[in-house]
C-alpha cells in the first residue's frame, strides 16, 4: 500500500492567529458596553469608522504589496487595532479624525514596516499619537460620564451621529453643557495649581479610585484581561511590569508627599492604564519577546506613563510610553536572551535564565 509523505510533526496546532485576535476582541466587549453606558453611543460610531478605514487601508496595502487580501483580513488583527484605537478616542470624535488615525496606523505604522509581524511600533498607538498632535482640540473633548446624581445633558444617537459626521453639535447645545475635563486633566491642573490630592478628589468627576465611568471601564477591561491571561493569550509579565513600573514610583511619591501627588489607586484606575497593561502593551508584535524582556518592557512602559503624567505636558502618557519602549525592544531582546540549556553560562552574553 502506498502512502502520502509529509514532514514531522504530524499533530497540528490547535491555535491560530485569528482565534487569538477574536478572543482579544471578545475580551474587550464588556468594557465596550460599559463605555457606551457611561459615555453614550459615540464609541460605537468611532469603532465603525475606525474599523471601516483600517480594513480599507489593509485591503489597499495588501493589494499594493501583492498579498492575498483575504488572508490579511481573516486574521482579524486589523479589527483589534481598530478596537484599541477606538478605546483611546473620546466618544465625540469627528469621522475624519478617526479615519486619519486609523489609516496612519494601518498604512504607515503597520504595512510600510512590512505588515503583520514586522511592525516596530504599536499601530493603534502610532495612529493615536498622530491625531493627538494633529487634532489636539478634538481629543481633549470628553463628554461628562453618566453620573446619576448629577444632571448633565446627554446626546441622543442622532445627535452623536451628527457630530461624528459634521464635527459640529446640533443647534442649541453648547460644548460646555456636555463636556467635562477628564479626571487626569483635573488632577494635573489641580496639582499644578497647588491644590491637594484630597481637595481634587472631592470634585464630582472623580469616582472611588479614578474618574467616574473610567474606573468602571477599567474594571471591565481588567476582567477581560484576566480572562486573556487564563486563556494564555497573553502572559503575566507585561501587565505585571506595567503595574510595577507605574505603581512603585506612584506609591513612593504618594507616601513621601501625599498632598501633592495622586494616589497609586488613582493612577491605576485612571486614563488608559488598564487598557495599556492588558491590551496595548501586550501586542506581541511590537513587544519584547523573551519572558524577562517582557517584564522589563512592561516596567519601562509603566514608569514612562508615571513620568509623563507627573511631569509631562500631556495628561496621560500611555501612547508615548508604549512607542518609546517599542524602540527599546531590539536592545531588550538582545540583552535578555534566556540561557540555552547546555551552553556555558560564562560564555553566554545573555542572562542566566528566562
Amino acid at each position: 500500500m502506498e502512502f502520502k509523505r509529509r514532514e514531522a510533526p504530524y499533530l497540528i496546532p490547535q491555535v491560530s492567529v485569528s482565534s487569538m485576535m477574536l478572543q482579544v476582541l471578545a475580551a474587550l466587549v464588556p468594557a465596550a458596553i460599559v463605555h457606551v453606558w457611561f459615555f453614550g453611543p459615540g464609541f460605537i460610531l468611532n469603532l465603525l469608522v475606525a474599523a471601516v478605514f483600517a480594513a480599507g487601508g489593509e485591503t489597499v496595502m495588501l493589494g499594493l504589496r501583492n498579498r492575498k487580501s483575504e488572508a490579511g483580513l481573516t486574521d482579524y488583527s486589523v479589527l483589534v487595532t481598530a478596537a484599541l484605537f477606538a478605546f483611546a478616542l473620546p466618544s465625540l470624535t469627528p469621522w475624519w479624525v478617526t479615519a486619519t488615525g486609523a489609516l496612519f496606523a494601518v498604512i504607515v505604522a503597520k504595512h510600510l514596516y512590512g505588515g503583520l509581524g514586522f511592525n516596530i511600533f504599536n499601530p493603534a498607538m502610532a495612529g493615536y499619537v498622530v491625531i493627538l498632535i494633529a487634532f489636539p482640540m478634538h481629543l481633549n473633548l470628553w463628554i461628562a460620564p453618566r453620573m446619576g446624581d448629577l444632571d448633565y445633558q446627554h446626546l441622543t444617537v442622532l445627535q452623536t451621529l451628527q457630530y461624528t459626521l459634521t464635527g459640529s453639535l446640533p443647534d442649541g447645545i453648547l460644548f460646555d453643557a456636555i463636556s467635562r475635563a477628564t479626571p487626569l486633566d483635573v488632577m494635573k491642573s489641580g496639582l499644578n495649581n497647588a491644590r491637594t490630592f484630597a481637595e481634587i478628589r472631592a470634585i464630582p468627576v472623580m469616582g472611588d479610585f479614578g474618574g467616574r465611568g473610567w474606573e468602571w471601564i477599567g474594571n471591565f477591561l481588567a476582567f477581560g484581561g484576566f480572562w486573556l491571561l487564563i486563556k494564555k493569550i497573553i502572559r503575566w509579565q507585561i501587565p505585571v511590569g506595567v503595574g510595577l513600573g507605574l505603581l512603585v514610583p506612584a506609591t513612593i511619591m504618594y507616601m513621601v508627599e501625599p498632598g501633592s501627588h495622586a494616589s497609586p489607586g488613582f493612577h491605576l484606575f485612571s486614563g488608559a492604564t488598564i487598557l495599556c497593561a492588558f491590551f496595548i502593551a501586550t501586542d506581541p508584535v511590537s513587544a519584547a519577546t523573551s519572558p524577562k524582556g517582557r517584564l522589563i518592557y512592561g516596567i519601562g512602559i509603566g514608569f514612562l506613563i508615571y513620568c509623563i503624567r507627573r511631569w509631562g505636558s500631556y495628561a496621560d502618557g500611555v501612547a508615548f510610553a508604549v512607542l518609546l519602549m517599542n524602540m527599546a525592544v531590539p536592545t531588550i531582546d538582545y540583552l535578555t536572551r534566556p540561557h540555552i540549556i547546555g551552553h556555558d553560562l560564562s560564555a553566554d552574553s545573555g542572562e542566566a535564565d528566562g
Binding site: 500500500m1 502506498e2 502512502f3 502520502k4 509523505r5 509529509r6 514532514e7 514531522a8 510533526p9 504530524y10 499533530l11 497540528i12 496546532p13 490547535q14 491555535v15 491560530s16 492567529v17 482565534s19 487569538m20 488572508a71 486574521d75 488583527s77 505588515g115 503583520l116 509581524g117 514586522f118 494564555k232 502572559r235 506581541p284 508584535v285 513587544a287 519577546t289 523573551s290 519572558p291 517582557r294 531582546d333 536572551r337 534566556p338 540561557h339 540555552i340 540549556i341 547546555g342 551552553h343 556555558d344 535564565d353 528566562g354
Partner: protein, 509 residues
C-alpha cells in the same frame, strides 16, 4: 519494595500531549509469526553500514551473523530466522522515508532453526559478574544491539565511549513520552526482571553504582512491575524515578536534566556529565544476548492509530515488512492514509508499507491524513514557542535568522542545540513549520561547514603540492649541479659517455 522517588530536576517548557496510549495497552504483547520473507537493511543504526558476510543462495540459521560491523561506528546484523539468502538488493526502508537502500533478503524455511548456543561468539557463563568488564563489552559488541528507543545508536560503541569518561549514573529510559507509543510500557510490565538484569549487566560493565529507572507517571502498571522485581532482588543501587508526563522528557539530554539536574553541554554527550542513558528495551536486549545468547533479532513495537483495525503491541522479527505485521494484526481500516514509523511528533512518514521493521522501529502509526493547517502567516512574536522549548531557545528569533540565512546569528541563538522535538510547531498560532525550517537550516549550516572544510583541505593539498614541487625542483637542481661538477672532474670522455646515455634513453621514450 523500593518505592518510586520524586525528587527531580526541572525541565523547561514541554507539552502535555494527548496520550492515545490506552488503545494499544489493553492486551499483552502478541508474537507475530515468522513471515515468508525477511528484509534486513545493512544500515539499521547510526554510523557506517555493516558488511554482508553471506552469499546469495547460502542457508542461514536463526541468530547467525549475516553482516558484520564495519568502521568505527557500526553494528552487526543477525538472521532473525532460518532460511536461504535470496537477494542482496535495494529495498524501500523507513530510514529513507520509503526510498531504497541495500538490504539482505532471506526466504524463510519456517523451521526457525537456531545456531547452537555453544557456537555463539563469547559464550558467557551464567553469572556475568565473573566476567571482566572489558570482556563483557566485547560480548555486547557482537550482539548487534543498538539503542531501541528510536535513535539506534550502536550500544557497544556508546558503552566504550562512556568508559573513557567518569560515569556515576546509569539512567534507564522508560519515559516513552510521545503520544501513541506504548511498547516500552508493555515491555516493562511483562519483562521487568530482564530489564533490571540488563541494568545490572550495564552497571557491571561500566562499574557504575547508581541506576535510575525513569518512568512517566502515566504508567503505574510498569512502575509496579519494576518495583516488584526490585523488591525481590533487593538491589539497593537501582531506584525508580517517576517523572511527570510531559513531552519531551524522554529525550536523552532532557532526561539527564530532569533526573540528575545536570545540563548536558552543547554539542556534548550525557557521558560528559557522568551519565549513561539506555532505553529499557536495550537493557532487556542486553540481558537476552549476554545471558541467553540471543542476539537482537526481534523487538516489541506498537501498532496503533485510527488506520489499523486493532491497535496492539507486537513482538516481531527484525526484517518483517510493515504490511506483513499489519496484516497479522487485523489489517487496515478505511482511514489508513498516512504511515508513520515512530511517534506523531518525531516519526518518519514513509511512502510504502513494503519497508521492513528495523531495530529502531518502536511504533507503526497508521492514521488518517493530518489536515493541512493552511498557509503559514507571518510570525507575530507571541513567544509561545519559546515558552515550550525544552532547550530554552527562542524559536521566533531563530526563525527570523533562518529566513535571513544569517549563519552566525543562528549559531549564536543555538540552532544546533535544537532537538527537533516539534513542540514549537504545535503552539504556533501562525502555523509556521518551525521544526522543518530548522531542519533545513541545520542542513544548510552543516553544508557551509563542510564546504569550508573542503576548501581548507583543498588549500592544504594545493600548498603541500606546491611545496613538494618546489622541493623537488631544488633537489633536481642540486643533483644536476653535483653531476655537472663530478663530470667536470672526470674529464671529457666521461661527459661524452653521459651524453650518449642520455641520447639512448631519449630514443627509448
Amino acid at each position: 519494595m523500593s518505592a518510586p522517588t520524586y525528587d527531580l530536576g526541572t525541565l523547561h517548557g514541554g507539552l502535555r500531549l494527548p496520550g492515545h496510549k490506552s488503545a494499544s495497552t489493553g492486551q499483552a504483547i502478541i508474537d507475530v509469526p515468522v513471515p515468508a520473507q525477511l528484509v534486513l537493511p545493512i544500515t539499521q543504526h547510526v554510523g557506517d553500514p555493516s558488511q554482508p558476510v553471506v552469499g546469495i543462495g547460502e542457508r542461514v540459521l536463526k541468530g547467525q551473523l549475516i553482516a558484520e560491523s564495519d568502521g568505527t561506528l557500526s553494528a552487526p546484523v543477525h538472521a532473525p530466522s532460518s532460511g536461504k539468502i535470496i537477494a542482496i538488493e535495494p529495498w524501500p526502508v523507513s530510514r529513507r522515508y520509503g526510498e531504497n537502500a541495500p538490504c539482505i533478503v532471506i526466504e524463510c524455511d519456517g523451521k526457525d532453526e537456531a545456531v547452537l548456543p555453544a557456537d555463539m561468539p563469547g559464550n558467557t557463563p551464567a553469572n556475568f559478574t565473573t566476567l571482566a568488564p572489558a570482556d563483557l563489552l566485547t560480548k555486547i559488541l557482537q550482539g548487534g544491539i543498538v539503542g531501541l528507543g528510536g535513535a539506534a545508536f550502536p550500544t557497544a560503541q556508546k558503552l566504550m565511549q562512556a568508559r573513557t569518561c567518569k560515569i556515576d549514573h546509569l539512567l534507564l529510559n522508560g519515559v516513552e513520552c510521545e503520544s501513541y507509543i506504548s511498547c516500552d510500557d508493555l515491555l516493562m510490565r511483562e519483562r521487568a526482571g530482564e530489564i533490571v538484569n540488563g541494568a545490572q549487566i550495564l552497571m557491571h560493565a561500566l562499574q557504575i553504582d547508581v541506576c535510575f529507572i525513569a518512568i512517566e507517571s502515566d504508567k503505574p502498571e510498569a512502575i509496579r512491575a519494576l518495583a516488584l522485581v526490585l523488591g525481590e532482588i533487593n538491589d539497593e543501587r537501582i531506584v525508580i524515578k517517576q517523572v511527570p508526563t510531559i513531552y519531551p522528557s524522554g529525550g536523552e539530554d532532557q532526561l539527564v536534566q530532569l533526573v540528575t539536574n545536570r545540563e548536558v553541554p552543547s554539542g556534548g554527550l550525557p557521558s560528559d556529565v557522568g551519565c549513561l542513558v539506555q532505553n529499557v528495551g536495550t537493557a532487556a536486549a542486553i540481558h537476552d544476548w549476554v545471558v541467553d545468547n540471543q542476539p537482537l533479532i526481534s523487538r516489541v513495537t506498537t501498532i496503533t492509530g485510527d488506520g489499523v483495525a486493532s491497535p496492539v503491541n507486537v513482538r516481531a522479527r527484525i526484517g518483517t515488512t510493515i504490511s506483513d505485521i499489519i496484516e497479522l494484526a487485523g489489517g487496515y481500516t478505511d482511514s489508513a492514509k498516512q504511515l508513520i514509523i515512530g511517534g506523531p511528533m518525531t516519526g518518519k512518514s514513509v511512502t510504502t508499507d513494503r519497508v521492513p521493521l528495523v531495530k529502531a522501529t518502536n511504533c507503526i502509526l497508521v492514521s488518517s491524513e493530518t489536515p493541512s493547517p493552511g498557509p503559514a502567516l507571518p510570525c507575530i512574536r507571541c513567544g509561545d514557542c519559546a515558552a515550550v522549548c525544552p532547550v530554552q531557545l527562542l524559536p521566533q528569533q531563530l526563525f527570523w535568522y533562518a529566513c535571513a540565512d544569517d549563519e552566525d546569528k543562528m549559531r549564536e541563538f543555538g540552532l544546533m542545540d535544537c532537538i527537533e522535538c516539534g513542540c514549537c510547531d504545535l503552539v504556533c498560532p501562525s502555523h509556521i513549520p518551525l521544526t522543518a525550517d530548522f531542519r533545513v537550516a541545520k542542513g544548510r549550516i552543516q553544508e557551509l561547514a563542510d564546504e569550508k572544510a573542503r576548501a581548507a583541505r583543498a588549500r592544504q593539498r594545493f600548498e603541500a603540492r606546491s611545496n613538494r614541487l618546489e622541493r623537488e625542483q631544488t633537489e633536481r637542481e642540486t643533483e644536476l649541479a653535483q653531476q655537472k661538477a663530478s663530470a667536470k672532474k672526470a674529464g671529457p670522455s666521461a661527459i661524452a659517455e653521459i651524453l650518449k646515455r642520455k641520447q639512448t634513453s631519449k630514443d627509448d621514450e
